[in-house]
Subunit: 270 residues, 2 copies
Amino acid sequence: MIERLSLNVWTTKGWSLPEAVAGCVRAGIPGIGLWRDKVEEVGVEHAVKLIADAGLTVTSLCRGGFFTVGPVAAADNRRAVQEAAALNAGVLVLVVGGLPPGSKDLPAAREMVTEGIAALAPYAAEHGIRLAVEPLHPMFCADRAVVATLGQALDIVDAIGAPDIGVCLDTYHVWWDPEVHRQIARAGDRIYAFQVCDFLVPIPADALLGRGHVGDGVVDIPALAQAVAESGYRGFTEVEIFNQQVWDTPGDETLRTLVARHQQYLAGIR
Amino acid sequence: MIERLSLNVWTTKGWSLPEAVAGCVRAGIPGIGLWRDKVEEVGVEHAVKLIADAGLTVTSLCRGGFFTVGPVAAADNRRAVQEAAALNAGVLVLVVGGLPPGSKDLPAAREMVTEGIAALAPYAAEHGIRLAVEPLHPMFCADRAVVATLGQALDIVDAIGAPDIGVCLDTYHVWWDPEVHRQIARAGDRIYAFQVCDFLVPIPADALLGRGHVGDGVVDIPALAQAVAESGYRGFTEVEIFNQQVWDTPGDETLRTLVARHQQYLAGIR
């Protein structure tokens, strides 16, 4: 059963969007998670047609966010919402940004994030797009996301108090958190996207690339997927892997691994 | 005012213990944080005499822990307690250990840790040694410490409920945590050791070595030190840096930097 499996296009970094779409069709993978850079290469309209013709479901668009870079973020985030709407993505994933350049003031950066999301929320709602705040592993706190835990992401969602704001959960980022199961239960129907990949040890020289196929690392991914299912989530499971070795592998082979691992570890979870 | 500054001996990795003791005396640094390997090189008795003759205060002994490796940990931890007592260290820092080999069961590993500390506690108390559970940055969760946050460390301390069990707080490991200020306040007089160094970005190829002098990274260390002082902590501030460039620098120069940074960032905190 791969009826809820989705390929995030960065997993097959070497493929263009048309190649990724064709690859999904060949592999029988019904979902696709998009990144704006891959969409931009072919244009939004062409991307929409490609994906529709292939019968794929868009499971998310990555990414909006980076609220801590300053006012320029607002305009870019509105464009991201427009693109998500045009692509029928449903969900825009927000990687919220790290510390502003030269700053060590985490509380201030976190306040910028809350204000930025709150300001974007009405625009997203008008376009029928749900915003998914993604906590990133604490090793990326300074340069990518000052939101480091699921609990913190939900606190922000609660503080804003608008409908259609939830979270994106990625096993790689949250597995270590002693609170994660409690927070998944708390999230309930506010989990808007579920991404999986494994955490590899040792961490490679480029810390961003220590993500592996489900089963290749240290994370009990089925336990997390089970908790997510029990919270009520019925959406796709998107596989997003940044890993040089995976990127050096032919895309069709990578997709066969995706399907095999999904069947081995995740297909039985309801 | 460097009256509460302490050199952790791994900051000057190239120095033997006698060299580190002499370096502290030259630099006017009154405290020294020990590691068992450095002590072992000269023997406990000689180490005790060296340190006493120099008039230094031992601020902690690193490290016990690694409860997840199995039964062998218990005997080694009792030896660590004995050494801490012989060295008048007062505090034994516990790095609790990662996942057991081949296991992905974090809850089970965490249970092993709680049981291991609980079993060690009476022995430590008999020897007048306080145990300090150290949460490590979540990037080390799999291979070094399944205790990843200060809140989790305090939960374990609470669960065991014995006197003389507290925490070791290292700015490098906890700075990213949205709960850290709340948990420092909760810790109160259970902070038994306070270690400082900065978190460098980008993370270097060996993730263990991304520690810098106070002020060289992204962490608002004075804010954390202020919170620790407000919790009632009146002990030493131990500088523990793992960094190849620092290790390649002559020790006396490193100690001058320690003193200068302490005066610049931390000496005014009461």
